[in-house]
Symmetry: C2
Subunit: 205 residues, 2 copies
């Protein structure tokens, strides 16, 4: 079998499937995204990731230090876009908190449901409690803090009640990680908007 454009034949390169970019590190991330979610993190060797990305294990170590660095990067990719959007939304004075909360929820669901593989499913790995994942956990905490601020402002809540509502809203949003397994074919943008509507109802605004 030959491929168009003179690319090598056989299994498509990881990058063509998940869009991590065309650099070697991107190929490794794409391969890791597939193997960690389909086969499991503990069950995947660094060698398997290298092979799936079409390179030798020795070459792989030029680009990443190992499996953990890939997992950290994949986890951060599920939080980073929503976190920078949240920072921008918190700084916006022109729009009300209700509207900004809705927008954050919608965008976050798009990120969590985007991509070919359910990377959010990796949140529950025991490894994520380790030291190497402090940066990811801090980013997730900051994102949750942005939710807290917007829920508090939109609903006029504070203290324990604010904490509870924030947990429920954040739980609904992250809960899409569990939902998307059941309905993989659904249009993401419609689902994201419906989830944002539901989040406002939970927040009580």
């Amino acid at each position: 079998m030959s491929s168009p454009g003179g690319r090598r034949v056989g299994r498509p390169r990881a990058v063509e499937r998940v869009g991590w970019g065309v650099d070697p590190r991107g190929e490794l991330l794409g391969a890791a995204a597939e193997l960690f979610t389909v086969k499991g993190y503990a069950a995947t060797s660094t060698r398997a990731v290298a092979e799936r990305a079409g390179m030798r294990q020795a070459t792989m170590y030029h680009y990443v230090s190992g499996k953990e660095e890939l997992l950290v990067a994949l986890l951060e990719s599920t939080v980073a876009p929503s976190l920078s959007y949240a920072r921008a939304l918190l700084g916006e004075e022109g729009r009300g908190a209700r509207e900004r909360l809705w927008e954050l929820c919608r965008a976050d669901v798009e990120v969590l449901c985007g991509g070919e593989f359910n990377l959010g499913g990796l949140y529950l790995l025991p490894e994520v409690r380790g030291e190497g994942f402090a940066g990811f956990r801090a980013a997730r905490e900051e994102l949750k803090g942005a939710y807290r601020e917007l829920v508090g402002e939109a609903a006029g809540l504070e203290g324990g009640e604010l904490e509870l509502r924030t947990d429920l809203v954040f739980g609904l949003i992250e809960g899409v990680i569990l939902v998307r397994r059941d309905a993989p074919g659904r249009a993401v943008s419609e689902f994201a908007r419906a989830t944002a509507d539901a989040a406002l109802r939970i927040a009580g605004v």
Copy 2:
């Protein structure tokens, strides 16, 4: 260090921590619950489970066929109580659908947040897609079907809109698996009631 009542010294037996009963199978389930959630499923050997339960690996095989059977049993334990309660609620003619939906949500959250270890975190293991887990997946589907029926009756919905609302409600409930990591000390019954309130708001009843 000696222990009261003449029990052997050292680490307490698994059963004393998670209440799976005093039989050997219960001890194995307790040990597996801890190791699978704290160390990870793939990273835990059957031998490690046997040792943690205080028996030899050869003895273990008198009670269970291996690691997968333990995982199946643990997963089923997160669904079975809610499923039998759901069946009872569906058969109740006296109470309205709204009240029964609230009650199912509350009870389900209590199950998912109950126990020392976050067994729901095992839902996202790639292994759960395998053939040995068909019974668990069917039970979870039936439970979701009960939610669907109650949401439909309570909110007067059907078709795609009912499917969407059911996914959001079910996602909120299962989402507590992700929330409970952040607030492990919270009183479960209060959180369960607040989550059930939120579920009704999402269902639109």
